[in-house]
Amino acid sequence: MSAPEILLAVNGLAKRFGAVVALRDASLELRAGEVQALMGANGAGKSTLVKILTGVFGADGGEITIRGRACRFRSPAEARDAGLVSVYQDPALVPDLTVAQNLRLARAPLDAARQWLTELGIADPDVGAFVRDLPFQTLRLIDLARALASDPSILLIDEITASLPADLSARIFAIVRHWRERGRGVIFISHRMAEVSVLCDRATVLRDGVTVGATETARGSEERIVELMLGYEVARAAADTAPTPGQPYGDAVPALEVNHLRAGRLLQDVSFALHPGEVLGIAALDGQGQEELFDCIAGVRDRDGGEIHSHGALRRFRHPADAIRAGIVLVPANRLQAMLPQRSIRENVALPSYGPLSRWGPIAMRRERGRVENAIRRLQVDTRAESELRRLSGGNQQKVMIARWLASAFKILLCFDPTRGIDIGTKRQIYALLRELAAAGSAVLLFTSELPEIRLACDRVIVLFGGRVVREMSAAEADEATLLRAAHGLVARREDAA
């Protein structure tokens, strides 16, 4: 067997941002006709590597060769001309332009893009629609179609399946395989181990900005990849987060009781009780009313009907401050909503403590420092870039958002998809922390879009469909298949007839 052509070789790439070293020694080899996974914990340098490859950043050192020729890109346009195109985690589209205008902006051939959109299952794409009016899923597909339309020889895909339903993911995989068959190369970034082992030929693993290994991705290689990503000891420790068996609650007063809650178009009628010491999972496809549910309980929006009780008292929240005073705090899905990008970790963590007027005065600096350090130590936040939160990796930003509430007092923690787009090691840390908080007497309500994760963290699950609770089960019953069926509304048996 003759060795396949090396499409892309990266050698010793280095990049630093001020004092933060993002890449130290990243190397990678992509063969023609290969789909290669690029893996690593949050902050390992995957995104930086992709951005250097596509000319967004310049490298401080190292070399890139394409088909044996040394290259150095000064802009994404140069990279595109050399055949490298990427699809980013967040679609790079201008909201106030139409789809067609966006495509033209990226100099993507319109006809080809339209054809790819059809291929991706958007029959008869309306390219005259404004981007801001389109749902997020569609935007990702448009972004992908834009990339495909320029017919790149090397396609880089960053976390595209993180929020896509299974059928769309399948279509994307088909296209990736098509690219492989044509003897081209694909670099695929994903945190989903299952996807990687099905789709990719090999995986290159980064840790702390260094390539720590490349491995075949046959089934059974998952543990090997996790070990590479985390280093051995961390991987072992993180695996020890088995859920505690659920306890019976009897007549104890629930921490949170929701009765026939209704809000907006999507949330129709949801009731449940959440007890101290319990982690209650919510499973649902996108748009089944879970956003509205969390927003109502956290005081972000008012309900249209129904009741919310916490610790036995009827509540009505007109502002998040009301909910926080009642001990209910929210970690929202999109950390950009909750973080102060230009401020330090410390100010981000301490923010809620200055809400009340009575706390506007002088700050007890030493006490504050103690509380903040405690919280970020508990979450093992990487503090190398502590002076501005935007310089931290996504996973570390999310940890800071959780640390914020650890540093203040709460009784009920609402976590809305806290691990979206976060590496597996950080995920396990977050779930272990939720268990720990519950063990200490807090009540936790957790929505996660990653169904297999439910069993890791929860005692009990309720499944929402069409704005109603369609199923309730213990974590032990909640395997992925059962949850998925219920989440699609494919459940026949439901105990109460009301």
Binding site: G12, A41, V210, G231, Q337, L340, L357, G361
Partner: protein, 331 residues
């Protein structure tokens, strides 16, 4: 989360260019860089007109910088929260005028009239911006014009008591003690320290930064953002009122366009000092140096006998250059 054992691996081309190292140094010590710039201007003056920089000249620069510094304090506070206050000049003028026309009621009553204007306009600004969510630029432009108009009507109705600047206000705005220390520093220094220390070390200070950085995040964290903005614009109004008193003490005549020339410099001082017009980043220390730089620049242009248009061109160019430098440094 670092793997310490293997993280210490020297890498060949790690030599960072001198330029980016200098950039990193400036990023960490922006105030230091600004002070160097200030000293460069002072040196420039001494070179252009040897013998100019004397203790008396320095004392005069401080005297003239104080009202601008006080105005810039308020401006910095609202800019950090992502806003701007274009009514400060009108408020300063109105404060001075009302104080002067009420001087017959006694010194402290007159001063209270002046501060009252600042409080009132600040509260109206705060209400519009914080509660009704009017764009700060539009809101304060409107209230500034309204203040000006009201003041003209008021001055025309006023026949009896002509405006008179009390002697203690005169010495506040133009006097010196202890062999050359301007008295207005005794207003500027305590107020300045309050802002300088209050911004990083009080709850309200932190909230001002936070609101400017991400308003939605503040709401989610349980901060009632309108309260913060309301307080912020009131403080700005009060600072403008105090500045008006200092200014009128220097000119000794309360006319209708008294503080107009200070409006854009108050914004410029904050921008030169590194406060982002989008909010969330900066601080008062920079604005203080910014106010001094602008005052020295003015003095330089006066010394060179530069005509007004040239003066404006240089003024604008320097602000643009510094703003561009900041953008490069901080992004």
């Amino acid at each position: 989360m670092n793997a310490p054992a293997q993280s210490i691996r020297p890498h060949g081309p790690s030599a960072i260019s001198l330029g980016s190292r200098f950039g990193a140094m400036l990023r960490r010590h922006t105030i230091g860089a600004l002070i160097l710039l200030l000293l460069a201007f002072v040196a420039g003056i001494e070179v252009a007109r040897p013998g100019t920089v004397t203790p008396i000249w320095i004392s005069n620069i401080l005297l003239f910088a104080a009202p601008l510094g006080i105005l810039a304090a308020g401006q910095t506070l609202v800019m950090l929260a992502g806003g701007i206050d274009l009514s400060v000049a009108s408020v300063a003028t109105a404060s001075a005028y009302l104080m002067a026309t009420h001087s017959s009621q006694g010194g402290s009553a007159a001063v209270l009239w002046g501060l009252g204007v600042g409080l009132l306009v600040g509260a109206v600004n705060g209400l519009g911006i914080a509660v009704l969510r009017v764009q700060p630029l539009v809101m304060t432009l409107g209230t500034g014009l309204m203040t000006e108009g009201t003041l003209i009507v008021y001055s025309q109705k006023l026949m009896a008591s002509a405006p008179r600047v009390p002697s203690f206000i005169q010495s506040l705005g133009s006097g010196k003690v202890l062999g050359g220390v301007p008295i207005d520093l005794f207003a500027w220094i305590p107020l300045g320290f309050l802002v300088l220390i209050g911004l990083p070390r009080t709850g309200l200070g932190r909230l001002i930064y936070a609101v400017g950085d991400n308003r939605e995040a503040c709401e989610l964290a349980g901060v009632r953002v309108w309260q913060v903005l309301f307080a912020d614009y009131i403080m700005c109004g009060l600072f403008a009122a105090v500045a008006g008193l200092v200014i009128v003490g220097g000119t000794n005549a309360a006319d209708m366009s008294l503080a107009d020339v200070y409006l854009l410099p108050s914004v410029a001082a904050a921008i030169i000092g590194g406060t982002s017009i989008f909010g969330g980043r900066g601080g008062y220390a920079g604005s203080v140096v910014g106010a001094l730089i602008l005052t020295v620049l003015n003095s330089l242009l006066t010394l060179l006998d530069a005509p007004e248009p040239i003066r404006q061109i240089l003024y604008g160019a320097i602000i643009l250059l510094l703003a561009a430098a900041y953008t490069r440094l901080t992004d």
